[in-house]
Symmetry: C2
């Protein structure tokens, strides 16, 4: 057996974000994304069908609980101890190793669905390999930002593709993490 085959399998982590032109992803922490286009929702559902599990924060979980309970879902929270309810695992990533947990389940493709602290956590911990950003043609001027970090950092990405999703001007950008 070659050296290569002995390595633990790589988990591909892909973040999905729907945003306004000005980088806002929601009105507030507990509001949904009812402003996204039908075309984006279709893309997103098709993409999720290819994923083994999803990672979300507590707010995102509360907003989309019914759907997320049907998936292999990891809910990152500062409060909970490690706890499993059906297919949903609640964990504090400061206390439990999320990467090891994903690897132990043998998941190969994992979707990161936000919110901003979860996107930031995954990026900081080199768990954000790819990024799909859907830009809907709105400006909100206020609301929840895409990422919320404590300090300004310059994470590099490379643009892989740009796709127009409809005539109105929803576009889908696909980036790859570049360090």
């Amino acid at each position: 057996m070659s050296q290569k085959l002995k390595l633990p399998h790589k988990i591909l982590c892909v973040a999905y974000v729907a945003t306004s032109i000005d980088g806002r992803i929601a009105r507030s922490g507990n509001s949904g994304t009812d402003w996204t286009s039908a075309e984006d929702r279709k893309f997103f559902q098709n993409a999720l069908a290819q994923m083994d599990a999803v990672i979300v924060g507590r707010n995102t979980y509360e907003v989309a609980k019914t759907k997320l309970n049907r998936r292999n879902t990891f809910v990152l929270t500062s409060k909970a101890k490690l706890e499993q309810k059906g297919s949903v695992i609640f964990l504090n990533p400061a206390k439990h190793n999320l990467k090891k947990l994903l690897a132990s389940k043998n998941y190969k493709r994992v979707a990161i669905l936000g919110g901003p602290q979860v996107y930031n956590f995954c990026l900081q911990n080199k768990m954000l390999d790819e990024l799909f950003v859907t830009i809907e043609p709105y400006v909100f001027t206020s609301g929840v930002p895409m990422f919320s970090g404590n300090k300004f950092k310059k994470y590099n990405f490379v643009l892989k593709s740009v796709k127009k999703l409809n005539n109105r001007g929803t576009i889908l950008l696909n980036y790859q993490y570049a360090g």
Copy 2:
């Protein structure tokens, strides 16, 4: 003379924004945009050459004073009384009518160059007809947001064009205000 010709001339106001993927336009209020690509700077300089005047906020003015002093520049500030220094006019838009002032100078094409409060002011006051957004392939996770409004609003835009500016993945989006 037809009714149409009697109308005052329309001033076209075009906003230019360079942003990270996550909608951040600067590290802080008094930092520049040294992270933008050469291709964006070239586009921006060519675009500015077509404009009669520019509108900026106090912070943006301080960061780019040397260049802005050579243009017909309107600096929006909450502090100053109406004051002219060379080609630069300082005004408090809550006290003086910016639109009337632009019209009195017979300017036809005006560039809005930020920061976030100035973009927001122009959008709120129906003075943002067109928007050019350059997205550089970075995530900053923190920093100055593109627009800073007091409340969440849904301003509609229509995407006119998408252009890749370089191989790395800088893209230029052109939107038209749609109410």
